[in-house]
């Protein structure tokens, strides 16, 4: 293997730090579908990564590369093993509540009917955008703390993903997220995250069809 190939191999899994950060969205040529973030949102991914890598009884695998390059299914495995590592319901609930606190604030003016995820026992608002790189961005809020925690995990999974990744993730893949919190495997109104995922996918589809 010559050095060029080696370098390119390394380059494909190791992005330089500056491209890890969320691209500046205060660019002047925003189109209506590329909604700008508040500046503090730019730390969303950094925060989410850090929190999931804080010491747990069983530490999730430390990726050798920046989390920006984790595939959705890799992230899913991390998430599942994290919750499986917490056998007591009280600990799982605590973890979800901790994540709920990490969600960035949701602009009250965006809590409009079209942003409401229907069919949930809790109220959930979801805003779906595509950033300048064509990646899907999501923000979410709920009046239920446990739901917020769940949604945080969903967002961590899919935020910054490509539209295809978001659309192609199967509900079944996420069933394991039910581990320990809700024993229900089937989708129903109680599985708020299921409804949120469906909504994320539908609106992603709508955005790319525009």
């Amino acid at each position: 293997m010559n050095s060029t190939t080696a370098n390119s191999t390394v380059a494909s899994v190791f992005k330089p730090p500056q491209s890890h950060s969320i691209p500046p969205l205060n660019s002047s040529n925003r189109s209506p579908t590329h909604i700008q973030f508040k500046p503090d949102h730019s730390n969303l991914r950094a925060i989410s990564t850090t929190s999931l890598q804080t010491p747990h009884p069983i530490t999730p695998p430390q990726p050798p590369y920046f989390p920006a390059n984790l595939t959705v299914s890799e992230k899913l495995q991390i998430l599942i093993s994290e919750f499986k590592s917490l056998p007591e319901p009280i600990d799982r609930v605590k973890r979800l509540l901790h994540y709920a606190n990490l969600l960035p604030p949701f602009d009250e003016s965006r809590k409009i009917e079209s942003n409401r995820v229907t069919g949930c026992t809790a109220q959930v608002w979801l805003d779906v955008m595509m950033d300048d790189n064509g990646k899907m961005r999501f923000i979410v809020d709920s009046d239920s703390e446990i739901t917020k925690g769940f949604c945080y995990c969903l967002i961590w999974l899919l935020d910054g993903g490509s539209a295809i990744e978001v659309i192609e993730i199967r509900v079944d893949d996420l069933r394991e997220m039910n581990v320990g919190i809700l024993p229900i495997r089937a989708s129903s109104r109680v599985n708020t995250w299921h409804n949120v995922l469906i909504s994320m996918q539908r609106r992603t589809r709508d955005l790319i069809l525009q």
């Binding site: 007591e88 319901p89 009280i90 799982r92 609930v93 605590k94 509540l97 606190n101 026992t121 809790a122 109220q123 709920s142 009046d143 239920s144 703390e145 446990i146 739901t147 919190i181 809700l182 024993p183 109104r189 708020t192």
Partner: protein, 474 residues
């Protein structure tokens, strides 16, 4: 002295009562009626007089304790090993062993299609099925068993009235009065009906005490009113409506009345002739019976002139290519093969409940209702919906509530996961009511006669812990 009477047997009660209340003592779970150990002391009985009975032996065992052994499902651990505390009875009730055995036995011994066959099994199935119908009729004091139509559940029964009676009796601008506290099954069919017929729905709202405003209902009644649809007992507010009075007022203006008795028939004596209702619906699964069967009670003179609801076998008399003639009620409204075993199971549930006595069940539940309300009220931050119990106001044994600053789903999830307490959270199929109360959802704890005060204590303790837990996060 020989102890021949039940009273004499009762003297040994201290040890028996321990056995009854020990949920792990399975030898009693197969006894259909542990009620033989009920304490009916006749103090004048001479057989007791000569025995020195310690004071503790005369302490009555509550209905909850005496019936619990009949319900195996209640004796289990859930989630993190907490014992199950089942407080979701308004959603569905548990079934005593005797009902399960009866359904089992039907399938094992004489399962066969009803009404058509002439062979041994079919004759037996038909007999038992029709006996179940008679039991339902007797249970609610219908004048004939042909006034009982078996349906899939109360929702289907209401739809039956909407599509059969409603379509042929309602014209544009006719009025249907419902309350905003009705279950969706008592609202949506009428909305669908009003689209088809041009009839108008009028809604009765609540008083300050959070009960349907009876004065408003009276004011809304007019010559235009053709139907009044009201719940007997509210599954959210726990309030009870004066059905007999409402029926009189409805009849005074020439309107019919349909009573949704899903939360009353399981919990108290209901006498349709006394109430004077034209239609009444209830579900088997809320009254210790299997799911998959419910019933419509309709006055004979009404059912006789109602057109069919579902078309198919059994509800016909003759079928030609260009038309068919229809059977008499109740068959006219029972198309296809019914839930035979389940209807027979409902009959067994009625036997079980009747053996205890609906008045006794009701009296015990009033006690439980007050105990639940009073204890829940003491928890800081809890807001209970519906009227406060008083001398004049009985509440059903359920409380819908919210906790300041917490979502009911979070409360219910933690109660379940950490404490094994099963309650419901959501809108309980009463979105208009929740909207009226200004909330999105509520939590609900609902009891039945096999619950005990200890269940209520466990629930309240768990709730306090839950609230403490969530508050520690803020």
């Amino acid at each position: 002295m020989m102890m021949m009477s039940m009273e004499g047997l009762a003297v040994k009660l201290p040890s028996f009562s321990q056995i009854i209340t020990n949920p792990n003592h399975h030898s009693f779970t197969h006894k259909p009626f542990s009620l033989k150990f009920r304490f009916n002391f006749r103090k004048s009985s001479s057989s007791l007089a000569s025995l020195s009975v310690p004071a503790a032996a005369t302490a009555p065992v509550s209905l909850g304790h005496s019936t619990r052994p009949d319900f195996e499902i209640l004796h289990q651990k859930v989630n993190n090993g907490s014992k199950l505390v089942y407080l979701d009875n308004a959603a569905t009730s548990q079934k005593p062993s005797t009902v399960i055995d009866v359904v089992n036995n039907y399938y094992r011994s004489y399962n066969s299609n009803v009404h058509r066959g002439i062979h041994f099994l079919s004759a037996r199935a038909t007999d038992e099925y029709e006996m179940a119908r008679k039991k339902v009729a007797a249970f609610i004091n219908a004048s004939e068993s042909s006034e009982i139509v078996f349906t899939r559940n109360a929702t289907e029964a209401i739809n039956l009235v909407a599509y059969s009676w409603g379509i042929s009796n309602l014209k544009p601008n006719d009025e249907i009065i419902v309350t905003i506290a009705e279950h969706h099954s008592a609202i949506v069919p009428w909305q669908l009906l009003s689209e088809k017929t041009g009839a108008v729905l009028k809604f009765v709202s609540l008083t300050e005490d959070e009960v349907p405003d009876i004065k408003m209902l009276q004011d809304l009644l007019s010559k235009k009113t053709k139907l009044v649809v009201v719940h007997h007992v509210s599954n959210v507010l726990a309030s009870v409506l004066p059905i007999k009075d409402i029926a009189e007022w409805a009849h005074d203006v020439g309107a019919k009345i349909l009573a949704d008795a899903c939360q009353s028939v399981p919990h108290m004596p209901v006498d349709v002739q006394n109430l004077g209702v034209d239609f009444l619906v209830a579900s088997s699964h809320k009254m210790c019976g299997p799911t998959g069967v419910g019933f419509l009670y309709g006055k004979s003179e009404l059912l006789e002139v109602m057109p069919p609801f579902l078309g198919g076998g059994e509800m016909i008399s003759d079928v030609f290519l260009d038309h068919s003639t229809y059977a008499d009620p109740p068959s006219r409204f029972e198309a296809g093969t019914p839930a035979i075993g389940e209807a027979i199971g409902l009959g067994a549930a009625i036997d079980y409940l009747s053996q205890i006595g609906m008045q006794k069940i009701h009296d015990y539940e009033v006690e439980l209702a007050n105990y639940l309300y009073e204890n829940l009220k003491t928890v800081p931050g809890v807001r209970i919906y519906g009227p406060a119990p008083s001398q004049t106001v009985d509440r059903a044994a359920l409380c819908s509530f919210n906790v300041d600053g917490l979502h009911p789903t979070d409360v219910a999830t933690f109660l379940d996961q950490q404490h094994g307490v099963a309650i419901r959270s959501g809108h309980h199929c009463a979105q208009p009511l929740h909207r009226y109360l200004g909330i999105n959802a509520s939590a609900r704890a609902s009891l039945y006669f096999y619950n005990t005060k200890e269940d209520v204590d466990d629930f309240v303790r768990a709730l306090v812990d839950t609230i403490g837990f969530f508050n520690s996060f803020n």
